[in-house]
Assembly symmetry: C2
Homo-oligomer: 333 residues x 2
């Protein structure tokens, strides 16, 4: 099959390439007669314009980059899907380039470079906490940057995130209210903003409940399932076990259950609060309380913000950055 170009179509239709282009884009004046003729020629030939050439000429890639720290986490994939839907809805042929940093700063750096070379019009970043200068440079360079879910200290950029502090405080108070005195905390890495915020909330909760946070019950995990398994293993195989656990993300909560099972404990051995939902929590009638986030909404907000920024003048005139905060809810039952 010969690769067709706009010139082939022009030749076949007996008009100039400019006319074809005008028909394709619905721009400029074209008589109805010619338009129809061109359109039928296009159909007859099965011609498809080359989006790459178009992008080069227009200096618009019509693509948005998204970097998530974990493609296997349903939370981020839900965000991704919402963003994708939102930008596709615009109908302007936008699409999403999804990259996975796997919580690795180096991979994140590569992903940023990659997206920059692809000339994405905006980068949505749920970051590892690293690459601050590069992110700033990207923003200064005129690529819109929106931080999603996670912020980066010292950068003034658009942000759509959740309030991690207050609901975490509430969670600890809730557990204390149920009579727990030995509450373990499985944290995320403190390089990640959400992990820091969640921990801050936890501390506030302990204070409010008049409890002393016991160092050996505070474990720094890594937001992975394996991390959750390791954490619960450590907690349950030494004296002074906890009676309740606050777990800073969904994957680690899953790990906690896997670990409990592996250790031979009943799954309802502990009261657990999970920051972030687990798909099966509605079926899983253990002593599990969920802090329900709203990835759908977050993704929509991000998409909306991205498309709006696209309209505004690039970089330079960009007025104040925007910060939108969503509020997760502790689902007591």
């Amino acid at each position: 099959m010969p690769k067709l170009t706009i010139r082939d179509v022009a030749q076949a239709a007996g008009v100039s390439t400019a006319t074809i282009s005008r028909v394709l884009n619905g721009s400029g004046y074209v008589s109805a007669e010619v338009r129809e003729h061109v359109q039928s020629t296009i159909r007859a030939l099965g011609y498809r314009p080359n989006a790459i050439a178009r992008s080069l000429k227009q200096e618009k890639s019509r693509s948005i980059g998204l970097i998530v720290p974990d493609m296997t986490n349903p939370y981020f994939m839900t965000v991704a899907r919402a963003v994708q839907r939102r930008i596709e809805r615009e109908g302007a042929g936008y699409h999403l380039l999804i990259m996975d940093s796997a919580e690795d700063r180096e991979k994140e750096r590569e992903a940023l470079h990659f997206l920059l070379e692809k000339r994405v019009e905006a980068i949505v970043l749920a970051g590892t906490g690293g690459n601050r200068e590069l992110v700033q440079a990207a923003s200064d360079g005129g690529t819109h940057v929106v931080l999603a879910d996670r912020t980066i200290d010292g950068l003034s950029l658009d942000v759509v995130a959740e309030d991690n502090v207050d609901v975490s405080r509430e969670a600890i108070v809730y557990l204390a209210g149920r009579g727990h005195r030995r509450i373990a905390v499985i944290n995320g890495r403190q390089t990640i903003s959400t992990a820091r915020e969640r921990y801050a909330g936890v501390c506030a909760g302990f204070a409010q409940a008049g409890l002393q946070a016991e160092p050996e019950l505070i474990i720094e995990g890594d937001y992975t399932r394996q991390g959750g398994i390791a954490a619960i293993r450590a907690l349950m195989t030494r004296p002074g076990r906890p009676t309740a656990v606050y777990c800073a993300n969904n994957e680690m909560t899953f790990g906690v259950y896997l670990g409990l099972q592996e250790l031979g404990f009943p799954l309802d051995e502990l009261d657990i609060v999970s920051f972030g939902d687990l798909e099966f929590s509605s079926l899983f009638h253990q002593r599990l309380t969920v802090i329900r986030q709203n990835p759908e909404r977050l993704g929509e907000e991000v998409g909306e913000l991205v498309m709006r920024r696209r309209g505004e003048g690039s970089g330079e005139a960009a007025a104040g950055r925007e910060k939108r905060v969503l509020y997760p809810k502790l689902e007591c039952r």
Copy 2:
């Protein structure tokens, strides 16, 4: 920030654009001296080559399209991730464009057109069953097409899929062996190849077990959670309830559990076999037997195939198509 081009770099470094290009691509001869100078200039300026221009010139987009019928299904996202990893591993700057057809032929058609315009080098399709001519045309047009998970009748294309028939037969025999006589079947739409194959296997299973498949126990669902809910509702709210259910995909199985819960049945009311794993099946000690698929492996095979085809001459010389079959396993316990 001024957008830098290769000419700016050339000017700054006092050499020609060709030299810059050679340094960038590691092609042709460049003296070590000049190379270093150019590289430091590039770094100093913070120059990033424009991948769009490069793609246009080289007539290689370095992108692969993937169309899945359901982005929310972990099965397909696992496939996607495996494909992505595999093509990124090549190190040639390849990336994946993921599109969601939402089981809708029209959306699938749009996605195909979109990817064709983006000049993706290959399309990986887990299809709805429609758009046969378009898919054929894409393949004829020189875009490699690999069917993943689902085949399309009458098309001779590369395929990586699972054997749905035999393990489904086995599942029914297994349920019959546990003494069940009233076994319900929740099918997928018969426009989808996997649904047809799974149903064929189910019928073989009934025959082998010497059971009569009862029409009112065979329900055509749609591979969605809602479909599963609707199906189990229908089955359980009329006389002659089943005692076991074969459920043709993971999402519908989830729906079955949601439905049972909603109807007030205990979750272990029925023996259930699910084609396709549920994330929590290992924790969920109900009467659930899973047919374990291997999306990781499928994705890797697809990625491998795609990258190999890329090496071979395009379209024309493409020798025989390849069909790889994976074998899911019934996990009895």
